[in-house]
Symmetry: D2
Subunit: 128 residues, 4 copies
Amino acid sequence: MPTINVYTELSPEEKEAKKDYIDRHSPFIAVAKTAKAGEKLAVNIRLGKDYSHPDDTDHYINEIKLFDKETLLATATLLSGINGGHGNKGQAEVTFFIVPQKNLRLTALVYCTKHGLWQNDPIEVAVS
Amino acid sequence: MPTINVYTELSPEEKEAKKDYIDRHSPFIAVAKTAKAGEKLAVNIRLGKDYSHPDDTDHYINEIKLFDKETLLATATLLSGINGGHGNKGQAEVTFFIVPQKNLRLTALVYCTKHGLWQNDPIEVAVS
Amino acid sequence: MPTINVYTELSPEEKEAKKDYIDRHSPFIAVAKTAKAGEKLAVNIRLGKDYSHPDDTDHYINEIKLFDKETLLATATLLSGINGGHGNKGQAEVTFFIVPQKNLRLTALVYCTKHGLWQNDPIEVAVS
Amino acid sequence: MPTINVYTELSPEEKEAKKDYIDRHSPFIAVAKTAKAGEKLAVNIRLGKDYSHPDDTDHYINEIKLFDKETLLATATLLSGINGGHGNKGQAEVTFFIVPQKNLRLTALVYCTKHGLWQNDPIEVAVS
């Protein structure tokens, strides 16, 4: 079954050794810590905090999914070329807009065509 | 074949009569008029300028595609519930981030589960 | 706006000159002419009747959508490599299974990463 | 993070008690045990071996992904209505066609809008 890789599940030693590799494949969610029920909330997802990923035709970030707990909210399917194209590097990024009714626990699940599935640790948003 | 509806192809009379219907299904792209080659550019797409669309389980905005001329850059697939859920209305919205290398002519192609395909008139971005 | 190319809208002269090009980008739907309401029906879509399309990382068939009239039923999103991979050619193909309740008018809308959107003339299925 | 449910990871007691629930959410892959390199191979995926799943607008099978080891080959995104529509039950199903070059280890990862992600145990195909 496909492995799902996670930024935080690795040991400090592994992280140091593979810091670039892990960083550029991991989704980082930027979202307000609190939100109002029934009001629009921006959820930004970007791959790579400090490093960039290739946008080669045979190696690129293809999919970014946003879940609230077990529930899929949206999927962004990207084509190679959107982040500069073959020979360039960039940070795949999308902002989804959601209208929550209750507390959120957000996870992004992303797919690299060469290095498989990656996700972040869940982010909590208090909705009132 | 599926009809592709467009905001601006209707007569003034039709627009007035169906203003709400047309507005809430039409994608509006917000993007800078000029951009630098190789630098990240935000492309915001929102459905409805003045009106909102239902987010009912049997009637919601399901897909938002971004094209540069004939080339697909990205697709956002939305699930019912993301804009408030059944009984609520909202404006489906996504921001894609692209790294252009030359002039852009951007079109959004969107799908409503009850009223089919809609697109906007192309938006030009000068890239240098 | 993205052009949607169609197999049958070209003149005989154009078809002869561009026969390979047109054939390998056009979706062909294979489906029974009649079906029973409430029973499962296979709808096969294949690109290319007589010719094959590259499966290169920068040039491949990326998406196959099935519509009934204006209603989207399903989308198959393919990744480069599924049809033999870079340097090979093949005919992108998927079979969707649908359970119709009334007469169908089926159209496939497909996307090539280099040559844009293509669709077939609608296919009618009598459902009783 | 989203849980991924699997048919075979449950105890015999749990399976008996929840047999219907588990069966109708689990993907079953039907594929030849051996295949020839460079030749087209049909991979059928169906949800439910003995039971059927609702096709309600608020509860339906939305996505069927096919992986070879860690590599995504294709995604079928389904809309509610394809399996009979609200009030009906059916078995979501798709056949992908792939052209393998070496041995395959196939997994389907599927998404139910109410009960989340499910996958099967990998299926091996010897390719020569």
